[in-house]
Symmetry: C2
Subunit: 249 residues, 2 copies
């Protein structure tokens, strides 16, 4: 943990927050902080800051918080992901949050098994702590918004424009000839919506519908990657493309 | 599995291979192949090809193999990795092999715990099957060479030039101002040696020694990533930089 995240409601009018449980334990036993020392903190969806530990007592840590004025910008990448199997999704939540996305849109697809939707991995009480773990790792405060869609066609045709207005849209598929770096404009300073399919790939209908709704197909070369590896790799490439220099010729 | 990997010694003079165990099981129960059908195969460190399944009997699958002439090129990236904790290393083997590296050099560092070296995760009988799993996913045959070094200074000063001659060398560190994409020359068509430190980072001595041996420091922006996420992200960025167009201005 490189930043201890706190809910805005946990800080009182005088700037004090009283933490117990895992965070208090982490401050005391992993960071080895004693009263009088400071820790880096952040308010979920709010500013970062520092806090002086004013007391540690019976498993509770009291912090005196000093917050920055600015709230970190929301990451400029949104992720449209066909729900992977639960074991993979469990690993992905924190990694996606650490890499930085504004919105996670989970969708059905032909090759998504139906029971993937019924798992507790897709319940907010499971994934929210995992997202927060990723944010604390990456020193970010902006919690990705998550929505889950069981009907791919309705999502793409009726809901996506509202969820992700004016984004550059790309979809990963082995059939593609162009790489993400060639398609996503470096330094474009706009949002990118990145679609990643199920383990067996999107089917023809799904790729067609995505194409009809503005998604450009991008590839990752001849190596086929597992969903979780592809997800991390593509988010990293996307982030680098967005933060890269406008031209490098 | 997108490619079933076979040891060269498993194929007889007439091009037949008899598989049992996990691979036979996979061909029969996951790929649902029946006699007369073909599967994509590869020989470890040899060519890819196809094989006709000539019989399936009592858990054994017999293949008639037809191999290509060319052996896939060895991936142009080598990885110097401070040994992460066993749970993370277990997850990384297959992912590293899938992303494609020629050589994996595992090293000690100040912030690597000593007992990480005594785990069975670093034993060939554990990691070789995981590397093969990654290759089968990525349709590659070139098994990364692995070496394990308990003495960082001796590795960098005395052994590295022999292990990785004439590579462009980069080391990931949060202190860096330049990104991997800026440092690794796109289309350079040479090898890159990528160094990734322990969870707490390289210490000053280690960074200094790497710098003195040709490593340029590269960063990943303000977000600090876990070793496994950073590893996948940086290997993807490195791969993209090496396969990218020479100039794009």
């Amino acid at each position: 943990v490189n930043l201890v995240l706190i809910e805005a409601t946990e800080i009182d009018g005088a700037g004090n927050a009283r933490l117990s449980g895992a965070r208090a334990d982490h401050i005391e036993r992993v960071l080895h902080v004693v009263p009088g020392q400071t820790v880096r903190i952040g308010v979920i969806d709010g500013p970062r800051g520092t806090a002086i530990v004013t007391s540690i007592d019976g498993g509770a840590v009291v912090l005196q918080c000093a917050l920055e004025r600015e709230i970190p910008a929301r990451p400029a990448i949104d992720l449209l992901l066909a729900v992977p199997r639960p074991k993979v999704m469990r690993r992905l939540w924190a990694q996606i949050a650490a890499l930085g996305v504004g919105r996670i849109i989970l969708t059905n697809a032909e090759k998504v098994e139906r029971n993937y939707f019924d798992t507790h991995i897709l319940a907010p009480e499971t994934f929210r702590p995992l997202l927060i773990e990723g944010l604390q790792q990456a020193r970010d405060t902006r919690l990705p918004e998550v929505s889950i869609h069981r009907q791919f066609k309705i999502l793409i045709e009726d809901q996506l424009d509202e969820l992700c207005a004016s984004s550059q849209r790309v979809v990963a598929d082995p059939s593609a000839e162009r790489s993400l770096t060639e398609v996503v404009q470096t330094g474009a300073r706009e949002r990118v919506l990145l679609a990643i399919g199920p383990e067996g790939g999107w089917n023809g209908f799904e790729l067609g519908l995505l194409g009809a709704h503005g998604f450009q197909v991008i590839g990752m070369g001849p190596r086929t990657l597992r969903t979780d590896t592809a997800c991390v790799a593509l988010l990293a490439l996307c982030g680098a493309a967005l933060s890269g220099p406008q031209s490098r010729g």
